[in-house]
């Protein structure tokens, strides 16, 4: 400790205007600067995305060519297969979508867009990342214990997940649950920070309706997470007790109730969809207004719709359980609420399209990602209606139709939303422009194969192909030649899509080092983060900004420029 070079001045981390150069450790590893913590979340999330993508690669090759020795992985055994699909789902949602969309963008954007120098609880913020990192390491360690990684599906339904003699992973299943619980603690702390900062620490003059939509979306998503996560933490404690201490909370033979877990899980699990959706919607809103050079259509409508979506999202959870033996009368209620929640989301889509209407659209890379988010998420939303209606869900339940549906929601959220935000804020984050041509190659190389992966899977699902089956050759009706051809098509598209990610990483690294220097405001945007240097210094501004108007005053008649930054008096 004493050997390192830290200055002796007390509380140097809080002294935003100090000029001393911090040491490597306090700058990059133990930083309390929200921008650095955002980058830590971003890069950890990216690393986990590579791991989760590798898992998809391994099990998709097994499905297309059963028994093949997967290059770089080896033979996929049934236990491997289960562990791979389970952890692919868990990683992509809990260790990619949440850290990148909420934690990375939330940490980066909330202080910069609200015009303050840091989060209100910088040390809690650092703790949040450290717990998150620990949770990721704990999760990855579960693959190396006796019995291997947990394979009971990311929903971890008991009794399969509750007893080692069913799951065959005596340690893996508890380590997995422990990792999920740690991850929740990290986001609980992070969410408290986000909400408090956005509500208490805004720049002078920034009223509630002057907050950029993406900040509102992250705040509302954090509220949804905080309100929904409690019951799942209760359930996770009970499940770990069942696994390790011999209780019988979910064991029907000894007075427990396995469907209880499903209620606790989906009470969290469904709002969780909106927890990750809202930040992606918010990022899209920012990008669309900037590159259509138009005011966001109906700012207050969007905000109120978001709140309505959040409230409704707590009333739909049992649509995941239509064939779990819930009362059909209850299923009707949940069908109704589920169809109802498509109304505000559809409204949001219309609002975005109305924002584009008549704008002077600039098809930059971030704009392409933003537009494709609307298009692809729409497919996910429309196919969801078939699953929300209990009648059709009885046929579709647990087929590849469900799988394709939620990939059409989660892929736009986690992948398209992230690339949209990253390409848009890259100049601010790193002070250099990304190569637009390579960005577009990467965009088309991702979007086209994505549709070739999952549209065929809708067809397979309608043909009755069930999920979570390691090898279809034991099911004559599911191993007809046309079905196998479709599996090979989907897998080939996945390989192409994964290949195109190399373009992204190449572009990212080269632009980071040799990209054109970015000005303060390369996209001519209104929001506050573009009024400081690129990248922003420690403390964000030399003098904190004052806000005079809302964030979306583009193409205001009578002004010379087509944008009107929030901090300009006139």
């Amino acid at each position: 400790m004493a050997e390192s070079i830290p200055s002796d001045a007390p509380a140097v981390a809080d002294d935003h205007h100090g000029h001393e150069e911090p040491s490597f450790w306090s700058k990059y590893v133990f930083s309390t600067d929200h921008k650095m913590i955002a980058m830590q979340y971003m890069f950890t999330g990216m690393a986990m995305a590579v791991i989760g993508g590798f898992m998809a690669y391994a099990f998709r090759l097994q499905l297309a060519f059963p028994g093949i020795e997967v290059p770089g992985f080896g033979i996929v055994t049934p236990a491997n297969y289960n562990a791979l699909v389970t952890n692919h789902g868990a990683i992509m949602i809990f260790w990619v979508a949440m850290p990148v969309l909420i934690a990375a963008f939330g940490n980066y954007l909330i202080p910069l867009m609200c015009g303050c120098d840091d989060m209100v609880f910088p040390k809690l913020n650092r703790l949040s990342y450290q717990i998150f990192l620990l949770s990721a390491l704990v999760l990855l360690s579960s693959f190396f214990v006796e019995g291997g990684g947990f394979g009971g599906g990311w929903t971890a339904y008991p009794p399969l997940s509750a007893k080692a003699e069913y799951s065959l992973t005596p340690l893996g299943s508890s380590i997995w649950l422990g990792a999920v619980a740690l991850e929740f603690v990290a986001f609980l702390i992070g969410g408290i920070n986000f909400i408090t900062t956005a509500m208490n620490s805004r720049a002078p003059g920034m009223k509630l309706y002057d907050i950029p939509i993406v900040i509102w979306m992250i705040v509302i998503a954090s509220i949804l997470f905080l309100v929904s996560v409690g019951p799942l933490i209760a359930g996770a404690i009970m499940l770990i007790f069942d696994q390790q201490l011999g209780t019988a909370f979910f064991d029907p033979a000894r007075g427990g109730d396995p469907v209880l877990w499903q209620h606790l899980f989906w009470f969290f699990g469904h709002p969780e969809v909106y927890v990750v959706l809202l930040p992606a919607l918010g990022i899209t809103a920012e990008i669309i207004t900037v590159f259509a050079r138009k005011k966001l259509f109906g700012y207050k409508t969007v905000l109120h719709t978001t709140i309505a979506t959040g409230v409704l999202s707590f009333t739909v959870w049992a649509h995941h359980q239509f064939i779990s033996g819930v009362d059909p009368r209850m299923a009707h209620v949940f069908t109704l609420t589920t169809l109802l929640i498509s109304v505000p989301i559809a409204e949001m889509m219309f609002v975005y399209i109305a924002t584009l209407y008549g704008g002077s659209i600039r098809l930059t890379t971030p704009m392409l990602w933003g537009l494709s988010f609307i298009a692809e998420f729409l497919i996910g939303g429309v196919t969801g209606i078939f699953l929300g209606a209990s009648g059709s869900d009885i046929y579709f339940h647990d087929t590849y139709f469900v799988l394709a549906h939620f990939h059409y929601t989660f892929f736009p959220i986690a992948i398209i939303g992230t690339f949209a935000g990253l390409t848009f804020w890259f100049p601010k984050m790193f002070g250099r422009m990304m190569n637009d041509r390579l960005g577009k190659i990467h965009f088309w190389g991702t979007i086209i194969p994505f549709n070739f992966i999952f549209i065929p899977l809708f067809v397979l699902g309608m043909g009755g192909q069930h999920r979570r089956i390691f090898d279809y050759s034991n099911f004559p009706e599911l191993s007809q030649p046309w079905m196998q051809d479709i599996r090979i098509l989907a897998t080939s598209a996945l390989l192409i899509m994964l290949g195109f990610q190399i373009v992204f990483f190449y572009n990212f690294i080269v632009s980071l080092r040799r990209g054109e220097k970015a000005s303060k405001n390369p996209w001519k945007s209104n929001t506050l983060e573009w009024t400081t240097d690129s990248p922003p210094p420690h403390g964000n501004w030399k003098e904190l900004p004052t806000v005079y108007r809302g964030p979306y005053e583009y193409s205001v008649p009578g002004r010379d420029e087509d944008y009107w930054p929030q901090d300009q008096p006139n």
Partner: protein, 178 residues
């Protein structure tokens, strides 16, 4: 404006409220599905002793409220006594609960003996952990008060958590014990 510490703790308390809501609804679902309640052959829960102990906890909350009033009058000296009383009564509650657990374990109510036992130790245990954590915060607040630098933000956070622990207990008592 609400102080940051109180604001953050209020959000945390909402999350914790949902944790207890999850536990209570799980308890009700299992109880409703049981053929008889309480399960056969299990010891009776100490309803009367716990009722008295609950009053101790409520009294602790009352003294913290007195401390709260004194704090906002700016009367730091008048705040010390109610703070100490709140802390002492709260600690008594936790210790008494612990002694109750020891007695019940001796009578054959364990985590795995029945679903009543499982839920009893789970729900009361999670409440106890919250109570202990809140007492640590209150103790730090009392120490800061003595040394003269207790901030509204920190005191707000500590008292919010303790009021939550006090307020949620009667609900748990009615649900679990009665």
């Amino acid at each position: 404006m609400i102080p940051n510490g109180l604001f953050g703790m209020a959000i945390f308390v909402i999350a914790e409220l949902m944790l207890f809501a999850g536990l209570i609804s799980a308890f009700f679902i299992v109880k409703a599905g049981a053929p008889s309640w309480p399960p056969m052959g299990q010891p009776r829960l100490p309803i009367e002793a716990t009722a008295l102990n609950s009053l101790v906890l409520l009294a602790s909350g009352f003294f913290l409220f007195r401390a709260h009033r004194a704090f906002h009058r700016g009367d730091r000296d008048g705040m010390r006594r109610p703070m100490w009383l709140a802390l002492a009564l709260g600690s008594f509650f936790v210790i008494f609960q612990g002694s109750e657990w020891v007695a019940l374990l001796g009578q054959g109510l364990t985590l795995t003996s029945s679903s009543l036992g499982s839920f009893f130790y789970l729900v009361v245990g999670i409440h106890g952990i919250h109570a202990a954590a809140a007492l640590v915060l209150l103790a730090i607040a009392t120490a800061r008060l003595r040394r003269g630098f207790l901030s509204p933000s920190f005191f707000g956070a500590a008292e919010a958590l303790w009021f939550f622990v006090v307020a949620v207990w009667p609900v748990l008592y009615v649900v679990v014990y009665l």
